[in-house]
Symmetry: C2
Subunit: 280 residues, 2 copies
Amino acid sequence: MQIIVAKKAGFCFGVKRAIDMAFDLAKDTKEGVYTLGPLIHNPQVIEKLRVQGVTPIENINSANNIKALIIRTHGVAPNIYEETMKKGFKVIDATCPFVKKAQRYAQTLKEEGYQVLILGDKKHPEVQALLGFAGDNVIIVNGDEPIPPLSNRVGIIVQTTQPIETMKKVVCDVIDLAKEVKVYNTICDSTTLRLKETKELAEAVDLMVVVGGKNSSNTTQLTNLSKKICPKVYHIETADELKDEWFKDKKKVGITGGASTPQWLIDDVVEKLKEISFER
Amino acid sequence: MQIIVAKKAGFCFGVKRAIDMAFDLAKDTKEGVYTLGPLIHNPQVIEKLRVQGVTPIENINSANNIKALIIRTHGVAPNIYEETMKKGFKVIDATCPFVKKAQRYAQTLKEEGYQVLILGDKKHPEVQALLGFAGDNVIIVNGDEPIPPLSNRVGIIVQTTQPIETMKKVVCDVIDLAKEVKVYNTICDSTTLRLKETKELAEAVDLMVVVGGKNSSNTTQLTNLSKKICPKVYHIETADELKDEWFKDKKKVGITGGASTPQWLIDDVVEKLKEISFER
C-alpha cells in the first residue's frame, strides 16, 4: 500500500506562531496562564498546552487568578480586547496576522460606509470577532444559501480558511445585487495551497485520511472537498481511530491535515498505516 | 410564419437623449453643426442627421466653420473635452449619463491609487474616452484573452454594453491575481435586460434577425449571443438586406435590435417579413 502525505499538511504560520507564544509564556509564567477559548481547534494540542499549565477559559471572568491571558489565533472583537486590557493582567495577542489584516479591512470597509458582507461560518470565532470590526450594517453568508437584498455599496471580506471558489461565487452573486463591490481577498495563501494540494491528492488515491480537530473548520473543509473526489474519506483526530478494514484492497492512501493539526499527529497516522500495510 | 419582436429592441435612454439633442440643435442652428465622430453607431441614423445638417467630423480641426459641436454618446477623454471648450464654439455634451458615471468612477479609482482595469473593446470610443479618466496605471481586457500580471489593488470598470457574465468572469480572474479588488458595475441595465431578452427569444425561435449598425458593439453582441443559441442568425442594417430564401420552412422568427437601432428600421424589417410570410 502506497502512502502519500500532502506537503502542506499541518500547522500554518499563524498556528505555529500562536503555539510557540503559548509554550514560551508557560515557561516564564508558572501559573495563571489562560487562553480565551481554545488557542486553536485541535483537542490534542490543547491537552498538551493544558499539561504545561495553559488552560482555556470561556471568558475573562471564568477564572480569578489570571496572570496572563492569550488571545487565540481567531482573534476577538475590539470590545472584548478593550475589556481584557482594562483588567491589568498580561495580555498576549496570538491572533493570526492574516486574521488581524482581515479585521483591519472590515474596519476600513465600515469607515468607508460600505455594507460589510462576511463570507464564513457565523458560529466560528474568527467570524464572530470580525463582526465586531464590521459595524452594524453587516451580513454573514456561507456561500450555500441565497444572498438577501443588499445595499448598493457592498464590501466583502472572507474568513481566512474559506475556499476561493466559494468566494468567487459569492462575489458574482453580489455583483447581481450591488453596483459597487469592494473585495478584500482575506483568504490566506496557506488555505488555498492546502485545498489545491488536497484536491490533487484526492484525485490520485483510493482513500483519503484527513487528520485534525473535529471542531476545526479548515480540516472539515479538506474532508468535504476530498469526499467530492475520492471514493473513501475518513476524518480522524488521532491514529487510534484508524481501522484495519478501511484499507483492505486499497493501493494508494493519501494523508492530509488541517492548519491546526500538529506534525506528530500526522506522523502517528503514517506509522500506523505502515504497520497496517506491513501486516497484510 | 410567426414574427416575434423583442420588447427591448431599439434605442436606449442615452441614445434617444443624444438624438433628440442633435435634432433640437439642428432646428435652432442652421449651419456649422457637427458631431465629434458619429453620434451613435448606426449609419442610417447618421445619414438622417446629415440631411438635417448635423455632420460627423473626425476631430475639432477637421472643419473650420464649427458653430456647435456635439460630444457623442460614448463621450470623450478630458483632454479632448478641454481642448473643445477652449475653441469658443457651442459645445453640447450628449455623452450618455451612464457612460458619464463610468468616467467618474474611473477617475475615482485613479485618485484612490488603484490600477484601473477596463473591461471592453480597446478600439471602441467609449473605452478610448474612459482611458483618459483612468490615469497611467491602466489595463484594458476583453474577457477572452488571459489577464496579464496586476498590481495588488485593482479597480474595475466596464464598458456599459458588456455582458454581465463576461464581467463576472473577469472579476473572478482578477481575484486570483490581486488582494484588493474594487468593482464598479458600470454595465447599464438596458444592456443586461436586452441581452437577457435576446437570449430568451433566441431559444424560442428557428431564426433570429438582429437589426443595427455593423459598427455597433452592442448589436454585434446580440448577434454573437444569438449565434450561440439559435441555428440561424442574420445581422442586418436595413430591411433591404433580407432574402426570401432565409425564411424557407421557418416557423418562428425573432427580431431584436441594438441600443442604437431606431424603431423605424425595426418596423421596416417587420413589414418586409410580413410580406415574405404572406407571399408563401
